[in-house]
């Protein structure tokens, strides 16, 4: 058997760790606002100094949420080989393609490693690490239902623009709710098909069509089951009076407190502070100009 038949265990969406830290008690709307702000910042920050400062801020957040550090980096180890390959690819072959005139550090044959390339590699590695910490901090301190409720709240100002905010939140809720359900169904399907003698991955690697055919006995029924469930769910919702776009109330309401306003202000201040950090490298300014 090429693959394990247990899927439910790997659906780690319930990463949420209940707790009483400041981050746990914050309003999900405030958390999402600051989170989005900082993801944007991390994407536009093209200097090593900025990324390093962001990384430190995010580690501080993780500590503030009283979360164990190993959770934040749990996904890093299995990805290390691929990460190393990508870094090598970037270092060796990015060469002159960044279009920046920066000093050549090493020149062997057709390979030339430039200062700007090294800087780019370090920045993108730091970005992976810091975003990993930031995302873990958010998902470990906020439950999935709070996240979708927060999303609805954050998007609410877009409602006058006819953005279907509560429907988008509904889609997210359904997606999160049904992932474990489908994991179980996929598991059952795989076991049933294996019992009937289906081969999962016994074809030769280059036989693309045969290999694809070997996943069909699971993938096709899975899609059909899902679509069938969608039909039933839509019918059930309409029978219970669900009308898209209608105003609904919620069992649990969010409460915005002083600490949430404070967090947003601090988040915004740090955003501009990091944005203003200047690096000594002139190359980074040129890269920043490109974006």
């Amino acid at each position: 058997m090429a693959r394990p038949l247990e899927l439910s265990a790997s659906v780690a969406l319930g990463q949420f760790i209940p707790g009483h830290s400041l981050l746990h008690r914050m309003d999900p709307r405030a958390k999402l606002t600051v989170f989005t702000l900082w993801v944007v910042l991390s994407v536009v920050a093209w200097t090593i100094a900025q990324q390093a400062v962001l990384f430190i801020i995010f580690l501080f957040l993780l500590a503030l949420g009283r979360l164990p550090f190993r959770f934040a980096f749990s996904t890093l180890r299995p990805a290390l080989p691929a990460l190393i390959v990508v870094v090598l690819l970037q270092l060796l072959f990015l060469g002159d393609s960044t279009g920046l005139a920066s000093p050549v550090l090493l020149h062997v044959g057709f390979i030339s490693i430039r200062l700007a390339t090294v800087q780019l590699v370090i920045v993108s590695l730091l970005r992976v690490l810091s975003l990993m910490v930031l995302i873990s901090t958010l998902t470990l301190t906020t439950s999935a239902s709070d996240l979708t409720r927060g999303l609805e709240g954050v998007l609410r100002p877009l409602r006058p623009l006819r953005v279907p905010v509560s429907e988008i939140a509904l889609v997210c809720t359904i997606a999160l709710r049904f992932t474990p359900v489908f994991a179980q169904e996929a598991e059952q399907l795989m076991k049933a098909q294996a019992a009937r003698g289906a081969d999962f991955g016994e074809a030769r690697p280059w036989q693309i069509i045969r290999r694809t055919k070997s996943v069909l006995p699971v993938i096709v029924p899975l899609f059909l089951l899902a679509l069938g469930r969608a039909e039933n769910l839509a019918l059930a919702m309409e029978a219970r009076g669900y009308v898209p776009g209608a105003r609904r109330t919620s069992f649990k309401t969010l409460a915005w407190g002083m600490r949430d306003t404070g967090a947003c202000i601090v988040g915004l201040l740090l955003f501009f502070a990091v944005l203003l950090i200047r690096d000594a490298q002139p190359a980074s300014a040129a890269i920043a100009f490109l974006f």
Partner: protein, 176 residues
Amino acid sequence: MNTRKWVIAGVLSALSILLGVTGLGFVPVPTAVGNATILQIPAIIGALLEGPIVGAIIGTIFGVTSFLHATLPMFKDPLVSILPRIWIGVGAYYVYKGIRPLNHYVAIGVAGCVGSVINTVLVLGVIYLRHYLSLGACITAAVVNGVPEAIVSIIITLAVVSAWLRLDPLRRKSRI
């Protein structure tokens, strides 16, 4: 948009998340990364069945999950992992709509292919524009990864959509 469309968008997004986090969505054929992804397929199928907006929503959720779970530098960048994925379903839908009057099966297959190609080209295009990889590396990845992914995508899209719409490509008679 009626209730059905929203629900189908949610359910197919759930499948997209499931395929991504369990590794079910990676067909083990030889490519640069060792497998061909079929994570774009829920977005394509959603678009074919319920229109471009549903496709775009599923694509966005696929993008967000891929961003949240990413461990490679290029995919930890929303411009690479989220933005291109929105267009998978949109492109697939209009191709499907254009070819459908000629031949329904061909339309489904071509839409499956186009959705996958949009994913490959836009993602690698942004990776190049954001200086994560050189142009040569991007083109190599597009060929080595993109072609098997497009083939896999055609087969699965055709299988699922024709089964759901109760089409019978070979016009077989019932075997009972």
